[in-house]
Symmetry: C2
Subunit: 195 residues, 2 copies
């Protein structure tokens, strides 16, 4: 399958079958893709940062780590990772994020609004959107103080992360809209599904 | 008001009006209380670790920090904190947590099951239970590797944290059921509401 293009500051949703692998590509480097996953047979089962951190016993996730649902089932496993730094702490940027962090910029519905629109045809409501797995987002933590910083991603042009589905899923995926998460520019995200 | 008692390995739910302060007390020391908050007028608005981390720009929260909802509204502000270490990364322990971490112990529904039962009369379903604000839970992070540990709380007998409601809330609160979070024993939690 040819790579699909998610244009800058937009999002999409699609089905990913158990056993298929989703490859999320940063075509230009230093861009972020917010990823959500719902059980295709029951959207009340959803990706959970809290369950994942608990079972992985770490907050930075990479190859071999599994992403769990709120019901403690494995939804995705990271099977390849050229970057090694992603974020699972922060919620998708929204119009409120822009009001808070970028009061001088034009408002934007952000990844949250993009995900809400893309997922609506699958019956997902905005209230069901949890913390996303933010591919390539670089949020280092100071372990002493707990302070976090949102720095430009360390991903280079063409880098990717590959995640294998462990159940039939509905995926939401964006090309992030927030200046700080990608070093101040907006770029597309590409993705590919392998059988 | 006299302190209310949450017996060991149980939970409760109650309304907290805007302007009231909830004081969560660790009567014996080294015990954890999982705290959830829902907008009393619309339970689709719920406490959000991801929003809170984003706006606080830190994952360890204490006096002066605000706990935000998924709609970016302030639900609670920490107005006093005798402990200074709480967790907002991990989901409430559940029967799955026991299967994963304590396969040799009798299964227990955990804080998740206790919260689900206590919140059901308010219309909250299990799928609506997010990552909790875990009062007194001691989960240090290694900022380099991202590794986390669940250590005994640093709270001493009688220590408390006080949170002022910034909207009318439904609160869920537990005395935690997981051995690791409280150093291997089970103890009650006390709480008080001040006008």
């Amino acid at each position: 399958m040819e790579p699909q293009v998610i244009p800058e500051r937009s999002g999409t949703a699609f089905k990913l079958k158990k056993g298929q692998t989703l490859i999320v590509i940063d075509p230009k480097g230093e861009q972020v893709a917010d990823l959500l996953a719902f059980n295709a047979d029951d959207i009340d089962e959803v990706i959970s940062s809290g369950r994942t951190f608990d079972y992985a016993e770490r907050i930075y996730l990479s190859t071999g780590n599994k992403l769990y649902s709120n019901r403690s089932n494995v939804m995705l496993e990271i099977v390849e990772d050229m970057v090694g730094r992603h974020d699972f702490l922060l919620t998708p940027c929204s119009v409120d994020t822009f009001d808070h962090f970028y009061p001088d910029l034009p408002r934007h519905r952000g990844c949250f609004g993009n995900l809400a629109e893309a997922l609506a045809p699958y019956g997902v409501t905005p209230a069901q959107i949890p913390t996303a797995f933010n591919c390539f987002m670089n949020v280092p933590i100071d372990g002493e103080t707990g302070e976090l910083k949102v720095l430009p991603p360390i991903s280079k042009a063409g880098d990717h992360i590959a995640l294998r589905a462990e159940m039939d899923l509905i995926i939401g995926l964006t090309a992030c809209s927030a200046p700080d998460s990608n070093g101040g520019t907006f770029k597309p995200i590409h993705y590919r599904i392998e059988a």
